[in-house]
């Protein structure tokens, strides 16, 4: 059993070790960022290897590795790939984190040792969240995500970062601590903390403890108070990670933990969670339409999209879940690209306010093309991967009540409205006061970061079944 799982260990330990290496080993300053990027690219390589090894038809837990840790309470270091969706989410993580590290390299973050060390540490922690098969280990990685994020936002963030970090940490920690209580109660009742051996538990309270953490982290309406500040004040690439990957950890938590361990809780609380998600979907879309700045639009659209994803999950049928997993990958890539483009625009105009932007398409064909392409995918035109995901989600949730599908469809129209508003406010109209003639088009380095991500999205648009057929074996 242990012999097979080296690839999962490597996926977790390589970035953690890489983070230590970047942080501690003396090397010339200019080497630090490339070293970190190289490690992130190797990480992608190992992920491809795990993709090849994973038998999607068989499903279940594969590539697992287990070491005993706290014997008396039945806690172990147990990691592995559980079902196909884990593979896809790990893939999303390594790709987005590598892109973010590349973006950091290109924007020449100061204090590079700490910066890249933390980015790699974050990569390892997120991969750990996705691959843990033990609840306490899951909790450890879950909290370990918070530590680098806190510093990354707090040190390299925008002017309002101090308040943003406090809000972010307090919100998410309150949710997490409730989860810790639930973990303890579950583990002591089951006599083991293993997700594989522990069996199901019918207690609503335990379910709610876990759900609290996931609802805050996703976030679902009305627990999104931290979201606009954190997404606005983070460095662009950290926002990309936050909204692209970290929020998916919450959706993953529902899918991996709540669905397999607390089916009774999922059944009992399906309606309230569906209602919250649907509300968040509409509310987020409306706020995105009214947001005064680029990051605001992306942040609230992220709230809406997480609502949609959770809607798909809590359809609790294959169609909805397959669509939700596809949409997690889609939205992860889309919001990563959007935040990086937002960062690129802000760097050129030193503002993100839409009323001071405009007319950037003229003389900047690359920016215009990239933003249009990603915008078209984001608003889910038929044929795009987002369309496939959203369609599957709506078809799935229809079985829980036609109302949810109608609300979802309305929200998709709203999505078209806010995306088009964003595109026209940045690219079209008369040039805004903040847009000078000298503001450059996207540089080749920036294109090299976002174009591969868009390429992945186009690939998924052509073949969405690559993921939807390989979610649960």
């Amino acid at each position: 059993m242990t012999a097979h799982g080296w690839i999962t260990d490597v996926l977790i330990l390589l970035p953690l070790a890489g983070g230590l290496l970047v942080w501690l080993v003396p090397m010339p300053r200019v080497w630090i960022a490339p070293t970190a990027l190289l490690i992130a690219l190797f990480e992608i390589g190992f992920w491809v290897e795990s993709l090849v090894r994973f038998d999607f038809d068989q499903g279940g837990l594969q590539e697992s590795s287990r070491l005993s840790w706290l014997d008396d309470l039945g806690v172990s270091y147990h990691v592995g790939m559980f079902e196909g969706f884990t593979v896809w989410l790990v893939g999303l993580t390594v790709v987005v984190l590598a892109a973010s590290i590349a973006y950091g390299l290109w924007s020449r973050r100061d204090r590079p040792r700490a910066y890249y060390g933390l980015m790699l540490f974050l990569t390892g922690a997120i991969v750990g969240v996705f691959t843990s098969q033990d609840l306490l280990l899951f909790y450890v990685f879950w909290e370990a995500m918070l530590i680098p994020l806190y510093v990354l936002i707090g040190v390299w963030g925008g002017p309002g970062r101090s308040g943003a970090t406090i809000k972010f940490v307090i919100y998410t920690m309150v949710g997490s601590l409730l989860m810790l209580a639930a973990v303890i109660v579950y583990g002591l009742q089951a006599g083991t903390f293993s997700m594989i051996d522990g069996g199901t538990n019918a207690s609503s309270w335990i379910f709610l403890g876990f759900a609290a953490a996931f609802i805050v982290k996703a976030p679902l309406f009305p627990f999104h108070g931290w979201l606009p500040d954190a997404y606005r004040e983070s460095p662009a690439e950290v926002s990309a990670v936050l909204s692209g990957v970290v929020s998916k950890a919450a959706a993953f938590g529902f899918l991996r933990i709540c669905f397999s361990l607390f089916p009774a809780g999922v059944h009992d609380f399906r309606t309230p969670i569906l209602v919250l998600s649907a509300t968040g979907l509409v509310y987020g879309s409306l706020l995105a339409f009214r947001a005064p700045d680029i990051r605001g639009v992306i942040a609230y659209s992220s709230l809406a999209q997480m609502g949609l994803i959770v809607l798909g999950l809590f359809a609790t049928n294959n169609l909805g879940i397959n669509g939700a997993v596809l949409q997690m990958v889609n939205h992860g890539l889309i919001s990563a690209v959007l935040f990086m483009l937002a960062g690129a625009v802000e760097r050129r105009t030193s503002t993100g306010r839409l009323d001071r932007l405009g007319g950037m398409a003229r003389g900047r064909p690359a920016l215009a093309t990239v933003l249009m392409t990603i915008g078209v995918i984001a608003l889910a035109v038929p044929g795009s991967s987002a369309f496939a995901g959203e369609f599957a989600i709506l078809a799935g949730v229809f079985q829980q009540g036609w109302m949810y599908a109608v609300i979802g469809a309305v929200a998709i129209i709203l999505a078209a409205a806010y995306v088009l508003r964003l595109i026209s406010a940045v690219l079209h109209r008369a040039p805004g006061t903040a847009v000078t003639e000298s503001a450059l088009d996207l540089r080749p380095a920036e294109l090299a970061i976002v174009v591969p991500l868009i390429g992945l999205l186009l690939f998924l648009s052509a073949w969405p079944a690559a993921i939807t057929d390989r979610v649960i074996g």
Partner: protein, 492 residues
């Protein structure tokens, strides 16, 4: 004719950690007189460190060779792995405290300082071995008197004197309360030894005897002063703030180890029949400490006071373990004390370093600004200590809290888990404030050290590094450490 007093056989080996520390204390005192002033500090520090190292080695041997607990020397001392474990932690703390103390700018009494440090360590270990109300009181006074003097040793500073005096008065009061309670227990049961008290209570059916319960309550209150549990915590912030930082570092870590482990021993071995009463009393103390410690820490700006309130709140967490009254709780307490003492020692060590850098000025959240970037080792260590205090992985503080909560849940007290979790959520705010001060201030606000070369204080850095390693290492090596703790608890 004087009747022949039957002298009990003395198991010197069981007392070897205390004896090696006493020897070190004695040599340091001689050094204060005989060694020329120039070499005095180095000699005394070396002897002190040697004493603690020897105590550590003897404690390891004692742990190894006491697989079954036994009461020795007429039953007043307990030789078991539980006591040996306490000795291990205290000796480790003392050893690192010597390093942290070395560069402390004390003008005089440097040799006496190490002598008192070793004597205090010996008293604490003796207390952890105590098996009778007499030896308990003896050990308590032994280390307390050493600490009173240590707090006031910086005679140039008014605050240090004030701290010593305050600690003396409040501590003396606490000891008196404890003695008072012991007298009541003796009056009720006619016994001083812990097991015999329990036997007498069982034989004479005294479990609801009001005199005994009153005595027990007084003993709890007296120990509450020493572990700085609310509502007996009033002295803590002032004394921790006023005492020289290395003394605070030692005191905050080692006193808690000795007093909490002794509290567990007394309650488990002498008063098992009264568990219904004392579990509730201890749980109330725990809740009060969590509330007072965390809420008061929120508004602190001086780092030492903040850490003092944090230590009150941690007394609360560890009291939850005792209140659980089960084997898991006892194990949780022993395990928790390992990362806790490292974090506490290390955090005050970092404060000491900053104080020296600022020329003795008080360390506030303001003037910690940017320290994380200027002093990478101290910054990262302090970061780890704060994460550990807040109970975040990857530190032993996280697993300590996890075990404490598990023990309380095992006892059936989910409400106590909820209280602990609420307290943890509140505590995040002020622990993050320290990290914010270290790393997140914009560079325009940074206050760099006042001129000159930064002090190169290798010994202090090593001490803090050791604390960092224990803090993080106790997370990864939790399995073996919990195994040690579990075996220690079984010999209780």
């Amino acid at each position: 004719m004087i009747a022949a007093v039957e002298r009990p056989p003395v198991d010197w080996f069981a007392l070897s950690p205390e004896l090696s520390l006493l020897a070190a204390a004695g040599i340091c005192l001689l050094a204060a007189v005989l060694v020329p002033a120039g070499a005095r500090r180095a000699t005394a520090a070396l002897v002190g460190a040697g004493g603690f190292a020897a105590a550590f080695v003897f404690a390891v041997l004692l742990y190894d060779r006491s697989p079954d607990g036994e009461s020795i020397i007429g039953g007043v001392i307990r030789r078991d792995r539980f006591g040996a474990m306490a000795a291990l932690i205290i000796a480790g703390v003392g050893f690192a405290a010597v390093w942290i103390s070395y560069a402390e700018p004390l003008k005089e009494h440097t040799a006496e300082y190490y002598s008192l440090l070793a004597a205090a360590g010996a008293g604490m270990i003796f207390l952890a071995h105590a098996n009778s109300l007499m030896t308990l009181f003896l050990g308590l006074e032994w280390f307390s008197i050493s600490l009173y003097i240590l707090c006031a040793i910086d005679r140039e500073r008014e605050r240090s004197l004030e701290a010593g005096l305050k600690y003396l008065i409040v501590g003396g009061f606490g000891s008196a309360v404890l003695l008072f309670g012991s007298a009541f227990v003796y009056g009720s049961t006619g016994q001083l030894q812990f097991e015999k008290i329990a036997d007498a209570v069982g034989a004479q059916n005294l479990a609801h005897d009001s005199m005994l319960l009153f005595g027990l309550a007084m003993i709890l209150a007296g120990l509450g002063f020493k572990v700085s549990a609310a509502p007996f915590h009033m002295w803590t912030p002032d004394v921790y703030e006023g005492a020289p930082s290395p003394v605070t570092a030692f005191m905050s870590a080692a006193t808690k180890v000795a007093a909490l482990m002794l509290m567990l021993r007394v309650l488990f071995t002498a008063f098992p029949q009264e568990a219904r009463s004392w579990t509730i009393a201890v749980a109330v103390l725990a809740c009060a400490s969590l509330a007072v410690g965390n809420l008061a820490a929120l508004v602190q700006t001086r780092v030492k006071r903040l850490l003092a309130y944090s230590s009150i709140s941690h007394a609360g967490f560890m009291l939850i373990a005792i209140a659980s009254n089960n084997e898991l709780g006892a194990k949780a307490l022993v395990y928790y004390l390992i990362p806790y003492s490292a974090m506490s020692l290390g955090a005050f060590g970092v404060v000491a370093a900053r104080e020296r850098e600022l020329g003795g000025r008080e360390v506030t959240l303001e003037n910690l600004a940017g320290m994380g970037w200027e002093r990478p080792l101290l910054g990262v260590s302090m970061w780890a200590f704060m994460l550990g205090f807040a109970g975040l992985p990857p530190t032993g503080g996280f697993l300590g809290k996890f075990y404490v909560f598990s023990a309380a849940y095992d006892r059936g007290w989910l409400w106590l888990v909820i209280v602990g979790i609420a307290a943890t959520a509140v505590s995040l705010y002020y622990y993050l404030a320290v990290i914010r001060a270290l790393y997140l201030r914009p560079s325009a606000e940074l206050q760099f050290a006042a001129g000159g070369q930064p002090p190169r204080d290798i010994l202090l850095n090593l001490g803090v590094l050791a604390c960092f390693v224990v803090t993080v290492g106790s997370f990864f090596a939790a399995g073996p450490l919990l195994d040690l703790a579990g075996k220690a608890v079984q010999t209780l």
